[in-house]
Symmetry: C2
Subunit: 148 residues, 2 copies
C-alpha cells in the first residue's frame, strides 16, 4: 500500500470513470450497427443463444436484463429474419425453446466482428501490460454485473 489515494473517494472516482467510459464506448460502437444489419440488442441476444445454447424467453430476458415483452419482440424479429427459431417445450407447453439458426450464428459472427472491429484493433495496438489490465477489468466487471 504505497500510494494512499483516499480509499473511499477512490471507489467513487473509479465508478464514475468506468461509467463514463462505458457510455462513450457503446455510443461509439453503435455507429457500426447500421452496416451489420444487426442492432446491438439483437446481436447481444443472439450471442446469448449461440454461446449459451437454446433457452426459454424468460431466461433469455433475464440474461439480457430486460423484461419479457421486450425480449418477446426481439425474438419475434430475430425469428422473422430467420436468425432464431421458437419451438414449444416438450414438458411445459407454456414455455418456448428459443434457438439460434445456422444463419443466425453466421450473421452473429460477421456482425459482432464488424461492431468490435475498431475496438479490437485498438486493443491490438496496446502493449501487453495495458492489454492485461483490460482483460482483468473485463473479468472483474463481468463478476460485478453478475452480482447484481
Amino acid at each position: 500500500m504505497k500510494r494512499s489515494a483516499g480509499r473511499a473517494g477512490d471507489a467513487h472516482a473509479i465508478a464514475e470513470r468506468i461509467h463514463a467510459a462505458a457510455i462513450r464506448l457503446l455510443r461509439r460502437l453503435r455507429k457500426t450497427d447500421a452496416a451489420s444489419g444487426l442492432s446491438g440488442p439483437k446481436s447481444s441476444a443472439l450471442s446469448v443463444l449461440v454461446f449459451g445454447g437454446p433457452q426459454t424467453l424468460k431466461d433469455l430476458a433475464a440474461a439480457e436484463q430486460v423484461r419479457a415483452p421486450t425480449m418477446s419482440r426481439l425474438v419475434a424479429e430475430l425469428e422473422g429474419e430467420g436468425l432464431a427459431t421458437k419451438t414449444a417445450d416438450k414438458d411445459d407447453k407454456r414455455a418456448l425453446r428459443i434457438a439460434a439458426t445456422a444463419k443466425g450464428r453466421a450473421l452473429l459472427e460477421a456482425g459482432r466482428d464488424r461492431r468490435l472491429d475498431v475496438l479490437t484493433r485498438q486493443v491490438e495496438r496496446l502493449g501487453g501490460t495495458e492489454r492485461k489490465v483490460l482483460r482483468r477489468a473485463g473479468e472483474i466487471l463481468a463478476r460485478l454485473n453478475k452480482e447484481g
Copy 2:
C-alpha cells in the same frame, strides 16, 4: 475455443468482454434512473456542462457523441426543468451558450451519486489490486474513446 489464446485472438476476446461488460453495466445502472428524475443522457450532458463549463450546442453534441437535433432536444428539456440555461452568444448570434444552473449542479450530484451508488459500493468491496485494475482500465478506455 482456444484456451491459451495468442496475441491476435487475445485482442478480440478482450474487446468482446469489455463490450459485453459495458452493455450489462449500463443496463444495470439505468434501472436507478427513474428514481433520480434525471435520465442517463441528460445526466451525462449536464455533467459535461458542470465539469466542462458553458459551451455551444455543437460542442456539447460532439462531447456526447450525439447529433445536434438530439442534443437540441435534451437541452430544451434540461432548460424546461430549470437545470440549464440557453443564452445567445455575444459574438456569434447563431450560437448558443449553454450553461448549467445551480439547481442543475445540485441535481446532478444527487442523481449521479444515486446512479453510481451500487457500483461505487461494489468497487469499495474490492481489494486494492482489483481496484487498481479498474482505475487503470478506466484510464485506458477513456483514451481509446478519445482516439476514435
